[in-house]
């Protein structure tokens, strides 16, 4: 292997104390993949235990811990950091022609803080487990087992990491762009990371605050959310969703950035409607802050508030619709190569459109009353948030794998696995929409027998999905060792591909010359 950031400088110490954004990104990547595996295992046991109505596999109490831990691990230890912290770290400086992020030491600190947070969450799992639901609704959470405190503190710590990463990205975009690169010259992935960072910096402190209050209520019985002590449990929900709704945009905006890049590269065409995509990203980041109440239409909030939150949710949906129009019209008139990353993007768009439309459906106040807290909502957010983040993550992994490793994986295996993941995912969650229609509430360890066949379908989908994911792991690991050497297999014009694959430690050996990131005329 030629000298690259992988081998230069040498030694374990040089990795553990590295300031290189690519190495930090790689450490994030492997860490979030570990948590994806952990959260996925919880999900598989969960799905298997739902095959029979009376839940022959685990007790109700264990079931409650499984869905809680699945949620906590997947949301805070996989989806939030997945694309921004892993791929964002690796690619942001490369895409704007910089040597590194603005604060490399802070970047390393951010990784270790995340790791400590992840370990503390794992302590909660070992110390008896958490059964509150990932939403920590009070007063159930403040009266639940002691391990809840560990989970709350762990998530609080990962929040600090999120804030630091967000600050770092914002500063990097403002100050580190290659001389002459204007805002409107930036690749769309950078714009999406920038929008994400704004949310990370503004919303995460509120999550930190509310989690600390839950912890304090739990340890010292302060009663902030305890009605018997004059507290208000619904206040918790307002504060929690003030972060957790924008958080879905923390997950989906970077994935949208990946989609924009992949669609452009594989259509060999400049992204259609660049300005609209940028404005839509910023619009989602800002209006996304004002929609949290749509999680609370039946929580006891006023009728007027529900109406306002419903209307604002429609507005956020239109920004997403604009992005879909722009992606589809980028393909019109393109010169399209149907490679694996683009196939994942197709799945992304399918899940995003149906997931988004079902989001508009649950934002329609009267319809939400029936669907709220049923499997319909579970299916909706898995389609759009999980499906979106996961297919975006897989598209990014397959698109930038050659960039990172300098090697190519088997396209045949990759396409087969993509089919298994896509079909598996859709088969897992489509039956859950119908379960929700039929009135099956979420978080049920046991259920009335009439719902069984839909649960069996859903579980079979989950098994196919798991098979697909393990296949991805297998051929990528093989490709790291044995894959043929490549440099820019996609003939992408984007800036990051102008350095060698894998890039050298300093990213660009010579000072790079500013060029249009979407200049497809001089690409053969």
């Amino acid at each position: 292997m030629p000298a690259s950031f992988w081998s230069e400088p040498r030694g374990l110490r040089s990795w553990l104390l590295t300031h290189d954004h690519k190495r930090i990104g790689v450490m994030y990547l492997f860490t979030v993949l570990f948590f994806l595996l952990l959260g996925g295992m919880f999900a598989l046991v969960l799905r298997l235990s739902l095959v029979t109505p009376e839940n022959a596999l685990v007790s109700a109490h264990t079931y409650d811990k499984l869905f809680t831990q699945h949620g906590i691990v997947m949301v805070w230890l996989f989806m939030i950091p997945s694309i921004p912290s892993a791929f964002g770290n690796i690619l942001l400086p490369l895409m704007i022609g910089a040597r590194d992020v603005a604060f490399p030491r802070l970047n390393l600190a951010s990784y270790y803080i995340f790791l400590v947070g992840g370990i503390v969450v794992c302590v909660a799992l070992i110390a008896g487990g958490v059964d509150t639901g990932w939403t920590f609704y009070t007063p159930y959470s403040t009266s639940s087992a002691a391990a809840t405190n560990w989970a709350v503190i762990g998530v609080f710590i990962t929040g600090i990491s999120s804030i630091l990463t967000g600050l770092n990205f914002i500063a990097t975009v403002h100050t580190m762009r290659l001389k002459g690169m204007r805002w409107r010259d930036m690749p769309l992935f950078v714009w999406n990371l920038y929008s994400t960072s704004i949310i990370l910096v503004l919303a995460t402190p509120v999550l930190g605050l509310v989690l600390l209050l839950v912890g304090a209520d739990h340890i010292w019985a302060l009663g902030i959310f305890e009605p018997a002590a004059g507290g208000d449990p619904v206040l918790f929900q307002h504060l929690f969703w003030f972060y957790s709704h924008p958080a879905v945009y923390i997950m989906i905006l970077p994935a949208m950035g990946v989609v924009a890049e992949v669609v452009s590269t594989f259509s060999h065409r400049r992204p259609a409607w660049y300005g609209a995509i940028v404005l839509a990203s910023l619009g989602i980041a800002l209006v996304g802050f004002l929609t949290w109440g749509h999680h609370m239409f039946v929580a006891g909030m006023s009728t007027f508030d529900s109406g306002v939150f419903g209307a604002l949710s429609m507005l956020v949906a239109i920004f997403s619709a604009i992005k879909v129009f722009a992606w589809v019209s980028t393909m019109y008139g393109g010169s399209i190569t149907l490679a694996t990353p683009l196939l994942y993007v197709f799945t992304f768009i399918f899940l995003f459109v149906f997931g988004g439309m079902s989001g508009v459906a649950v934002a329609t106040t009267s319809l939400d009353v029936h669907w709220h807290d049923t499997y319909f909502v579970v299916a909706h957010f898995h389609f759009i948030m999980v499906g979106g983040t996961m297919t975006g993550f897989l598209a990014a992994l397959h698109y930038w794998f050659p960039k990172l490793s300098g090697r190519m994986y088997s396209e045949t295996w990759a396409k087969l696995a993509c089919a298994a993941v896509s079909i598996g995912f859709i088969l897992t969650f489509t039956p859950q929409f119908l379960l929700g229609n039929a009135g099956m509430p979420r978080r049920y360890a046991t259920y009335p027998a009439q719902y069984q066949w839909l649960h069996v379908l859903s579980t079979s989908g989950a098994c196919l999905l798991a098979l697909g994911m393990f296949t991805v792991a297998a051929y990528l690991l093989y490709a790291i060792v044995r894959g043929p050497h490549v440099d820019n297999p996609w003939r992408s014009a984007s800036f990051e591909w102008r350095s060698a694959s894998p890039p050298p430690s300093e990213n660009f050996v010579d000072v790079p010359v500013l060029k249009d990131a979407y200049d497809y005329e001089d690409v053969p």
Binding site: P233, G300, T303, A321, M331, F346, A438
Partner: protein, 311 residues
């Protein structure tokens, strides 16, 4: 058409006056979602084939005016759905003045209903068909949610405050009540039913519905307090130990040691459950301190004592 779509989408029967209208909007919104999803996916596939590498490329892309027009059209449709949906939602939130009020208390893991004449019931809520019924609800412990899928109504039940929900059953029948807000290990078993009856039958039931030695008072109290959610009386262990043969038996304790289940131990376990935990059972039981008076606790102990023999 309504029946066909309702069955295709697996919706429950439309047993309240709200259900039909909400379902109609449901068909439109979900139908549109399916159509849009189909069109977008077909377009993706068509473009992927028509514009694959090496095919001739058009001179111009899709004009912005088309995109702006599509976005405007989509927003208009969303707003129409919002207006119709919000009008329905407002109706669901405002009970009519002539509604019959039933006081409802939710707790882990049961529903308790008290009728205007003082009659009380657990888990089964009997209502007359055609009569608006308003539930005035509160919770004794954590947040629950009153959900009747066949009525398309749901409302969280929050401790420390009251929330309201109303509905009018439009047909006789038995319609499941489910708890929709996660409330602990018994969440999925916190089920009840609305039993909608013809008005005459309902009146007869209510009139006839008004027990007397200490053990049967205890049994009734135990039912009201939800004890049977976790304790059986037939000897099968459940979330908690069975009451059959419990009285006078020697109980192994969590953390070692044992205790004889006498009046003192049983009373302590109601008032301060974690003090001496039966080995092998999770520490789930809530305290009844302040919820059961001395004579009430004594009645329940007397009932447990009556279960000494075999079933």
């Amino acid at each position: 058409m309504n029946e066909l779509l309702r069955r295709a989408l697996m919706l429950p029967p439309q047993a309240s006056t709200f259900a039909r209208g909400i379902d109609t909007l449901h068909y439109i919104v979900i139908g549109a979602a399916m159509v849009v999803c189909f069109i977008v996916f077909v377009l993706l596939l068509y473009f992927a084939i028509r514009f694959r590498e090496g095919q001739p490329r058009p001179k111009r892309g899709i004009p912005h005016s088309v995109e702006i027009g599509l976005a405007g059209f989509t927003l208009t449709v969303f707003i129409v759905w919002w207006v119709v949906g919000f009008a329905q939602y407002r109706d669901m939130r405002e009970p009519p003045a002539d509604a019959m009020r039933v006081y409802t208390v939710a707790k882990q893991w049961m529903w308790a209903f008290v009728y205007p004449n003082g009659a009380a019931a657990e888990d089964d809520l009997r209502v007359p068909v055609g009569q608006p019924v308003e539930l005035v609800m509160t919770s004794r412990d954590v947040i629950h949610s009153f959900y009747v899928p066949a009525f398309r109504v749901k409302q969280d039940v929050v401790p420390g405050r009251t929330t309201n929900v109303w509905f009018t059953a439009n047909q006789p029948g038995r319609f499941e009540i489910l708890c929709a807000e996660y409330c602990g290990a018994g969440h999925s078993r916190m089920r009840g039913a609305v039993i909608a009856m013809p008005p005459g039958e309902y009146a007869a039931w209510l009139a006839g519905h008004r027990a007397t030695d200490l053990a049967s008072t205890g049994e009734k109290l135990a039912a009201e307090q939800g004890c049977f959610r976790c304790h059986t009386v037939d000897g099968t262990p459940h979330l908690g130990p069975s009451w059959r043969g419990l009285y006078g038996s020697t109980i192994p304790l969590e953390g070692g040691g044992s205790v004889v289940a006498d009046d003192a131990y049983l009373t302590e376990s109601m008032m301060n459950p974690p003090a001496k935990l039966h080995r092998g059972y999770p520490p789930l039981m809530p305290t009844y301190l302040g919820r059961l008076s001395g004579p009430e606790a004594a009645a329940i102990v007397e009932y447990i004592r009556s279960l000494r023999g075999g079933p």
